[in-house]
Amino acid sequence: MKSTAATPPYTLNHPRWYRKRVSTYWWLQRWEYLRFVLREISSVFVAIFVVETLFQIYALSRGPEAYAAFVNFLKSPFVLALNIISFFFVVFHSITWFDLSARAMSIRVGGKKLPGFMISGPNFVAWFVISAVIAWLLLRG
């Protein structure tokens, strides 16, 4: 059925139908919706981490003094608090992202659908291994 100007792609109102407006606070009404909104908001914190890293690299390129000043800035209570919150959001973001991979990919091996954990599992393992290697490189002294 093609929609033309005469038939819009939505259902026209009927004077006797009751339509309820979706509340502005719909996302507070169920935990699942709130969880979804938090997941979407987590991208802001991912962006904060990216920008912070770029500034860190920039400070590094300008020499030890500039870098020390930047590290000092990172130590301020406000930035520290923001980074702790960002860290939890980034972890949440990553977990939901890897969970999604299992849902978005339908891989069939020998005619059978691969169970979700076989797809998200390797992603999680790779995430932990790469994180551990980076942590080791940075923290070994």
Partner: protein, 247 residues
């Protein structure tokens, strides 16, 4: 165990009411009764004007979907015992216009479903004398999960995107398009692509995932949509990278 249970049923009369209100009914509490049994009891014994849809009472027709304590449910598969002793609140499905009491207008879903061409499309039909289009169990398995959809619209009631954007095609319609796309007998994936790869269709979905959680037939519409997003994205990459446009 109490021998009655209270039902708070949403009532709306288009002739007299400006908005729905709740009416309470006391019905016998029986362990083997589902919400639909209680509604039928009310209609038979207490108030014949109570209006709702139902047909098969065994989870196949998909017509008795309502909100039970705010959660989209097939009332034929929702036991009173799971809610007792607190009152059970019955409302019409969210995100749809209410026609009367618990009956919603489903025109919008029907139109969106039709747009997806949910039937087998062949470039050329082979004559009947050549027999059926055969399919292996593996080929059946590729789409079977999505074919379990009974059009009950619980996923639409659970989807906040559909509530906020009436143009969104919605979970079931997309899952059913995918059901035919994945069918080895179907050759219509290219016909469905322009309808599916739209902001109003797959790209409108923000993967809240509630459609899958409420689905009584375990169709996983959210999975179907994400899978098609992947297909559409790969198609786009191919069309950009390959000189023959991924045809």
């Amino acid at each position: 165990m109490a021998d009655t249970i209270k039902l708070e049923v949403s009532r709306y009369s288009p002739e007299t009411d400006a908005a729905p209100h709740f009416q309470s009914f006391e019905v016998p509490f029986r362990r083997d009764w589902v919400v639909l049994d209680a509604l039928n009891y009310i209609k038979d014994k207490q108030d014949g004007s109570l209006t709702y849809r139902w047909s098969c009472r065994m989870g196949i027709c998909g017509s008795c979907g309502m909100l039970v304590n705010g959660e989209p449910k097939l009332t034929c598969a929702t036991f009173l015992a799971d809610y007792a002793p607190s009152p059970v609140r019955i409302e019409p499905l969210r995100n749809f216009p209410v026609v009367r009491d618990l009956v919603i207008a489903m025109n919008d879903f029907m139109r969106k479903l039709q747009k997806m061409k949910p039937w087998l499309i062949r470039k050329e039909e082979k004559p009947v004398s050549e027999g059926e289009y055969l399919q292996t169990p593996e080929e059946l398995d590729a789409y079977k999960q999505f074919s379990m959809c009974i059009n009950c619209m619980l996923c639409y009631a659970a989807c906040p995107v559909y509530g906020l954007d009436p143009l969104f095609s919605g979970p079931a319609a997309i899952a059913l398009a995918q059901r035919y796309n994945l069918d080895s007998r179907d050759q219509g994936a290219k016909d469905r692509f322009p309808v599916l790869s739209q902001h109003d269709a797959i790209w409108g979905c923000t993967f809240v995932g509630e459609c899958t959680r409420v689905c009584p037939k375990h169709v996983d519409p959210a999975g179907a949509i994400q899978q098609y997003k992947l297909t559409a994205a790969l198609d786009w990459v191919k069309s950009v990278l390959l000189p023959w446009g991924g045809k």
